[in-house]
Amino acid sequence: MEKAEKRWLYVLIIVFVIVNVVTLSSLIPWQSWQLWQNPEPAQVVKVAYNDYTITMDTPVQIKAGEFVQFSATSADVTYGFGVFREDNSMVFQMQVLPGRENQIIWKFDETGTFDVRSTEYSGPKHSDMVVRDAIVVK
């Protein structure tokens, strides 16, 4: 290996270590409860998918700063569960596979009203799978 190649390899290794340490740490807020904690959710929200329909008791009332678990099931094909702000930006999402209990824990640190949208293509009517004002965080 040439000297210059070695030096470049060291640069690559340094960047690799820095980026991975930072992004696996709790500097990314949700990594703290995804990887480093095992929080007990204050409430569990059940979401059911079937025939292009998202069924959940809306509006879900959530307290900011509390852990909430979303548990989604599908009776037919793969869908997605995504939570979106009013400006359409995404808070988080997960895939909803049939035959499995798809669970994610989240802690909202912002108040407001949020939409739920299917984030995985499930057929030509997929784009209509939106539940407006599904979640209210106070």
């Binding site: 290996m1 040439e2 210059a4 190649e5 470049w8 390899l9 690559l12 690799f16 980026v19 991975n20 992004t23 696996l24 990314i28 949700w30 990594q31 995804q34 990887l35 037919d76 094909v77 793969t78 997605g80 995504g82 979106f84 702000r85 400006d87 359409n88 930006s89 995404m90 808070v91 988080f92 999402q93 997960m94 895939q95 596979l97 049939p98 035959g99 499995r100 798809n102 669970q103 994610i104 949208r117 984030t119 995985e120 293509y121 499930s122 057929g123 030509p124 009517k125 997929h126 784009s127």
Partner: protein, 547 residues
């Protein structure tokens, strides 16, 4: 133009058809971009084209959009990229190793079977409204209340033809590389042992196999090593996709004859793991290895200087092969049922292996160019540098989304498909294939491109257009725009309009390239490539190695 040998002619035929598929894929892309901006923009065209479809079916705009979206990557990847790769490799491999193509008739079969396969998939979308996307997430392709069963069957038949054809191509390339200059050839077992470096590994542990043939690539050019090792990924990809296609085909045929099978008999998560493992052999396997090989070939050729650090690059290619087999979980970071250790190990850490291999590949290529100064900025050199930029940009975007933490807000957004996939394919692979065309056309025809200024216009319009298109949609993705979703409320219209303009700039660049190409070769000569040869057939046309 000089008289072309048959292999040269076939290479140019592959190139012409590849460019036609690129044009078709680009046209589809622009149609979809206009629908993303305004969902009603194509109503007139839809009504007109409905007259061509069988029966009295009047598909919705969404059905047509998603059918087109399903066909689009098949045309772009298996039509444009694979056809171009077939043509280039069928010329370059025999040229570099000075051996004829082992099975010349397979070259002709590959040409036609690829066209038939791609067009069958396209027709399954256009006529049969197949809309399950190329990802084929189980059980959507067998949910026949959403995906028309006849369309699904035809799509799978087309996909099967493509995959069988890729296996035939790989077989022919392997046999050509493995054939001895004298009689006979090495066995596939010997080749695979050599490809994975097993004899060398054994030697390290003091267990040298003295009977092993010297196939550890020491004597072969890096490009050939890349072709051979990349083709292992190609074969695995084709086998996995072929198996998925056959499974869906079986479900389709049973449904067609009134005996539907239970979709839940197949576990969606296990299927997704296996499918992505195979599919990623293209996205994170042969695409990178073949590209590295092309740079290892073109950079020394264009600079007239030996590849910097040539001893390391074969190891890098081998590392790329191993890495490509372990990265698939980065497509399942949104699946909460996927074990976290797999997400971190396979999805994140092993994916960074590509950063090391491509990082070293680009470094040695750039160092070679640097040390060869002053370098003539030929068309091929400009496009080679452009393609490196595309891979850096697309690669960084890929590393961001292949991160357990960041994927939470990037998964399935336009970021993935725009800043990563389209940057890789248009700015990276597309620009790289143009560099090959700019190298091969003068080499084969002994003609220099007629309008050097058009080469520059092509380069800059292609780069600026593809980057601005990807950037516009990538920013939409980072703001929450989901891929494969038709927004009807104008939520991201500024981004989609900017992407439409970017796509138009790319198209203008491509048209300028075609004008330059046709005026260089001559329309008559281009047509003679695709029209039947009137001359008496020459004996044994493809046997002689191209010179």
């Amino acid at each position: 133009m000089t008289t072309l040998g048959n292999m040269e002619k076939w290479t140019l035929r592959f190139a012409v058809v590849a460019l036609l598929f690129l044009a078709l894929s680009g046209f589809e892309g622009m149609l979809m971009r206009s629908q993303q901006y305004n969902i009603d923009s194509l109503h007139g065209m839809e009504a007109l084209l409905n007259n061509l479809r069988p029966g009295d079916v009047e598909p919705t705009t969404a059905e047509l959009y998603y059918a087109m979206l399903s066909a689009h990557p098949i045309v772009g990847i298996y039509g444009f990229v694979y056809m171009a790769v077939f043509g280039a490799f069928y010329f370059l491999v025999p040229y570099l190793i000075q051996k004829p193509v082992k099975h010349p008739k397979l070259v002709v079969a590959n040409f036609w079977l690829q066209i038939i396969g791609v067009m069958t998939c396209w027709a399954a979308g256009f006529f049969g409204l197949f809309n399950a996307m190329y990802t084929l997430y189980w059980p959507l392709p067998v949910a026949f209340d959403r995906v028309p069963v006849v369309g699904s069957i035809f799509f799978m038949l087309g996909a099967a033809a493509i995959m069988v054809n890729i296996l035939l191509f790989s077989y022919n390339i392997f046999k050509t590389v493995l054939s001895k200059n004298g009689e006979g050839s090495y066995t596939m077992g010997q080749f695979l042992r050599a490809a994975f470096g097993i004899p060398r590994l054994l030697k390290l542990f003091g267990k040298e196999d003295k009977t092993a043939v010297n196939l550890d690539y020491n004597g072969l050019p890096p490009f050939i090593v890349a072709v051979a090792r990349g083709s292992i990924d190609t074969v695995i990809n084709a086998i996995v996709l072929l198996s998925a296609g056959v499974l869906i085909l079986v479900y389709g045929l049973f449904a067609l004859f009134g005996h539907p099978l239970n979709p839940l008999a197949v576990d969606a998560l296990i299927y997704k793991n296996i499918y992505w493992w195979g599919l990623d052999m293209v996205a994170d396997g042969n695409a990178l290895i073949y590209t590295a090989g092309v740079w290892y070939l073109l950079v020394p050729l264009l600079t007239g200087r030996k590849l910097f650090g040539a001893g390391v690059v074969k190891t890098v290619i081998m590392a790329d092969l191993l890495v490509s087999m372990g990265v698939w979980s980065h497509h399942l970071l949104g699946d909460t049922s996927q074990p976290m250790w797999m997400k971190i190990l396979s999805g994140q850490f092993i994916t960074w292996g590509e950063y090391f291999t491509m990082g070293l590949t680009i470094f040695v290529s750039l160092m070679t160019i640097w040390k060869a100064r002053p370098v003539k900025m030929s068309p091929a050199m400009k496009f080679t540098l452009g393609s490196m930029f595309g891979f850096v940009m697309g690669g960084i975007a890929g590393l961001i989304q292949a991160n357990v933490g960041l994927n939470m807000v990037f998964h399935n957004t336009q970021w993935v498909v725009a800043l990563h996939a389209h940057t890789f394919l248009l700015t990276g692979v597309g620009t790289m294939l143009f560099s090959v065309i700019y190298t091969l056309v003068p080499l084969l025809t002994k003609l220099e491109f007629k309008h050097p200024k058009l080469v520059d216009w092509h380069l800059w319009l292609w780069l600026i257009g593809s980057v601005s298109m990807a950037y516009a949609m990538g920013m939409a993705g980072s703001n929450g725009m989901i891929r494969r979703t038709l927004y009807t409320g104008g939520e991201f219209s500024t981004n989609t309009l900017a992407a439409f303009i970017g796509g138009s700039v790319v198209s203008i660049g491509f048209v300028l390239f075609l004008i330059n190409l046709v005026s260089t070769i001559g329309l008559k000569n281009v047509l003679s490539l695709v029209l039947p040869d009137r001359k008496t057939r020459q004996p044994d046309p493809l046997q002689a190695p191209a010179q």
